[in-house]
């Protein structure tokens, strides 16, 4: 398990690759974390059932920003149905960070937003 503040995470936070706005997004979701008031927007461009572009924007801690960046890297290029298979547990395993319960919410903020964005609402909460 990676430390919450491993070099890899901090690098992702400082230099995200999937941060930004998609102007002509086909799907946009806004999620907030009541613990801290942090918020995140997820933008997806879905074409013929495939996620051709994915970005996130917003304000959050290193954990939430880095995990959003990693998550979107995972699903970009995937089919929507395929992306739905990114379960909570799968995603956390891929992240591989050891998280306390409070910070788990930070790590999963983007995942909740993504699930809603790809119409997997019942999984999203």
């Amino acid at each position: 398990m990676l430390d919450m503040y491993a070099e890899e995470i901090l690098e992702r936070y400082k230099d995200p690759v999937n941060k930004g706005v998609i102007k002509n997004a086909t799907s946009e979701v806004h999620e907030t974390n009541p613990l801290c008031g942090d918020s995140l927007d997820i933008y997806l461009k879905i074409e013929s059932g495939k996620i051709t572009d994915a970005k996130f924007n917003g304000f959050g801690c290193a954990i939430s920003q880095a995990s959003a960046d990693i998550l979107l890297g995972i699903v970009k290029g995937k089919g929507v149905e395929n992306a739905k298979n990114t379960t909570k547990d799968n995603f956390l395993k891929t992240l591989g960070i050891s998280l306390s319960p409070a910070r788990l919410k930070c790590a999963l903020l983007s995942w909740h937003a993504l699930m809603i964005a790809i119409g997997n609402r019942q999984n999203g909460h």
Partner: protein
């Protein structure tokens, strides 16, 4: 069940009252606390104390975990579907008020009917008088000669417009254990919600909200070995989702703007401000303690004790008891009156012998009126009581009778 061993867990039972060893027979008012509960509170303050829900530091996380674990333990105790259905309140009374304010106040002007009973504790009467003053009818089911609920009466009173039937599971005066399932069925068949005041049942017997099929249920921690200041409201999740919040403020919100506020998810939507964290943790320790003994064993022990008590009381001349004669149909609560002796005098004189019982209206004046008694003396037993305690009580009553020449 080894009562001697249990007694040893309760420091207060070593105390002398007026030179006599304490015989505590007032558990229906509040129970005593075992060292396991006292220590759990102490341990929390000494090692993990922090505010919950809002911190990312270790103490805060530990406190939050302990608080939410207590919720899980309580959910399991009464077999709730999920811990989301458990709201921590101050006491049973606040639980009932929460339902009154959050569910019924907003719909009171639309009319309808709420049905309570003559057997209730004031806590299950007075909140409904308040809701009644806002526009809903309020009716009370009577009591039968054998101290049960008058089901015929209930069937007569209930109607399509009935919004709530609310009754006590076990009477704090008569001991009567009501047939919850029958009442639940009548309520639901008439499209009414159904609420149970379980303040006198959850401490003493297995209670399963799904089997009882109730919409709301309340009880108090302090009557089941837990600390003061913590109680529980159980409600079906769908009701909680639809109910208005009760107290407003920190922790019960998701996002606050000056104009608009989004409320938190259940159960936190109903827990405004810093909760009684140590209270919840103490309650968990109490439930753990009771679970170790086992609620079936507790019920068995108390039934035996009740049977013995009723037998001993029946030998006393000029002493009247109130409540069902069949010990299997009642809790270990013996209300009585000595002819020509006021219950206060009886309680005071028993206290001189170290025996603590309650006296007065027992927060059930309408029932007192029905009994034709202005007041009663009440002895109530729990896991730490045995036949010796009952013998001391009966001996004490005989002494009172001699003093008053009865």
């Amino acid at each position: 069940m080894d009562v001697e061993k249990i007694k040893a867990d309760f420091p207060i039972l070593k105390r002398k009252i007026n030179g006599k060893k304490l015989v505590y027979l007032d558990s229906a008012a509040t129970s005593q606390k075992p060292v396991q509960v006292i220590s759990a509170i102490k341990e929390y303050y000494e090692n993990r104390n922090a505010n919950v829900s809002r911190s990312v530091h270790k103490l805060g996380e530990e406190a939050t975990e302990a608080y939410e674990n207590a919720r899980k333990t309580v959910a399991k105790l009464i077999n709730a579907n999920s811990e989301k259905e458990i709201i921590f309140v101050r006491n049973a009374t606040e639980g009932i008020n929460l339902v009154a304010y959050s569910y019924f106040l907003p719909v009171a002007q639309a009319g309808g009917k709420i049905i309570s009973t003559v057997m209730e504790h004031h806590s299950n009467i007075v909140p409904w008088q308040f809701i009644n003053s806002m526009g809903i009818d309020l009716k009370f089911v009577g009591v039968t000669k054998d101290f049960g609920l008058d089901m015929e009466n209930l069937n007569k009173i209930i109607s399509a417009g009935t919004k709530l039937v609310t009754i006590t599971h076990a009477s704090n005066v008569l001991g009567t254990i009501n047939d919850i399932n029958q009442v639940s069925k009548i309520a639901h068949d008439n499209g009414s919600l159904f609420m149970v005041d379980a303040a006198q049942s959850v401490p003493h017997m297995p209670v399963d909200v799904q089997k009882l099929d109730c919409d709301f249920l309340v009880f108090s921690g302090h009557k089941m070995l837990g600390p003061t200041g913590i109680g529980v409201l159980y409600a079906k999740e769908e009701h909680l989702e639809n109910m208005k919040p009760f107290n407003y403020g920190g922790d019960m919100i998701k996002e606050v703007g000056l104009e608009k506020t989004a409320f938190n998810d259940v159960p936190w939507k109903f827990e405004a401000g810093t909760p009684n964290i140590a209270g919840a943790i103490g309650l968990k320790a109490a439930v753990d303690y009771l679970n170790r003994i086992g609620f079936n064993s507790i019920r068995k022990h108390e039934t035996k004790l009740t049977k013995y008590s009723l037998g001993e009381f029946s030998k006393l001349d000029n002493v009247e008891t109130y409540g069902p004669s069949d010990a299997t149909k009642r809790g270990c609560v013996i209300s009585f009156n000595i002819k020509n002796v006021h219950p206060h005098d009886a309680a005071s004189l028993l206290d001189r012998q170290g025996i603590a019982i309650r006296s007065g209206h027992a927060c059930a004046q309408p029932l007192m009126e029905w009994l034709g008694a202005k007041a009663v003396a009440r002895a109530s037993g729990y896991i730490y009581n045995d036949k010796n305690d009952i013998d001391a009580l009966v001996g004490g009553i005989e002494k009172v009778k001699r003093m008053f020449g009865v």
